[in-house]
């Protein structure tokens, strides 16, 4: 009995090492955008991606696609994901598809999902500025 408990707790701590995991998808006009089709040169630095809840009206841009990410906590014992974590995930995804900014950023509310005890979703429209 004691051995079993030790194994269970050890596994729990091992799994808790990864506090969160995320999944995402990018769509344009209802179709999935394939990340594999984006070349390394086109990819951007996530730290340089502009994030706004509003539209960008002072620069012309082209819409790359709509990004949807969900950050999930790994176990019931981990802390809930935050909007900041979702924003980071959005930026990473936007960088992968060569975007300069994400507009109309919005978040859901943390709660139980089918895959996690704590999930938080975020959405935004990835855009690239016209030169």
């Amino acid at each position: 009995m004691l051995k079993k408990s030790i194994i269970v707790f050890s596994l729990m701590f091992l799994v808790s090492g990864c506090a969160t995991w995320s999944d995402s998808q990018v769509t344009k006009d209802g179709k999935t955008v394939e990340i594999a089709s984006i070349s390394e040169v086109e990819k951007k630095d996530p730290a340089k991606i502009i994030l706004t809840e509003d539209d960008i009206t002072d620069r012309k841009y082209t819409v790359i696609g709509d990004i949807e990410v969900t950050v999930n906590k790994t176990t019931i014992f981990n802390a809930d994901p935050t909007p900041e974590m979702v924003d980071e995930a959005l930026k990473e995804r936007a960088a992968e598809i060569g975007a300069d900014a994400i507009i109309f950023v919005r978040h859901g509310s943390v709660g139980v999902s089918f895959f996690s005890w704590g999930a938080l979703e975020g959405k935004g429209r990835a855009i690239a500025f016209n030169n």
Partner: protein, 134 residues
């Protein structure tokens, strides 16, 4: 012995699934507004359901309306966050002892409010950009 273990696992799985449905479920992020590219102002106004009264609002009014919407969003999020703590505790107890989940909140009203507030926020942002408000 094996059959009895299998039965126990099945009971735990069913209970876990039931808990998932009873606890506060995650609210999806609101849908993104329509793409404005290749659309006339009249089309966007129609798609965003902006009415005549909104059109006569001036920049300061739009700014204060947006402030109120943001405050209301924070209030509703606080309601959900407050109950989330309670739901988590119910979740721990439920997962460990398979107790009936009494008192778990789904915050349906707050979630619906947040959906409507985001729609209003999108309208206000468009009206602000239409009037070149700073």
């Amino acid at each position: 012995m094996c059959a009895s273990n299998y039965k126990k696992i099945r009971v735990y799985l069913c209970a876990a699934l039931a808990l998932g449905f009873l606890f506060g479920c995650a609210r999806s992020a609101p849908d993104l507004p329509v793409t404005r590219a290749n659309k006339s102002d009249a089309e966007i106004l129609k798609l965003l359901h902006i009415n005549e009264a909104d059109l006569i609002m001036k920049c300061p009014e739009l700014g204060s309306a947006l402030l109120k919407v943001n405050e209301a969003i924070d209030d509703n999020e606080l309601v959900i966050k407050g109950d989330r703590r309670k739901n988590q505790i119910v979740g721990y107890l439920g997962a460990l002892f398979i107790l009936p989940v009494i008192g778990a909140e789904n915050n349906g009203e707050a979630k619906e409010n947040l959906e409507n507030l985001q729609v209003r926020k999108d309208q206000l942002y468009y009206l602000k950009s239409r009037k070149d408000c700073k």
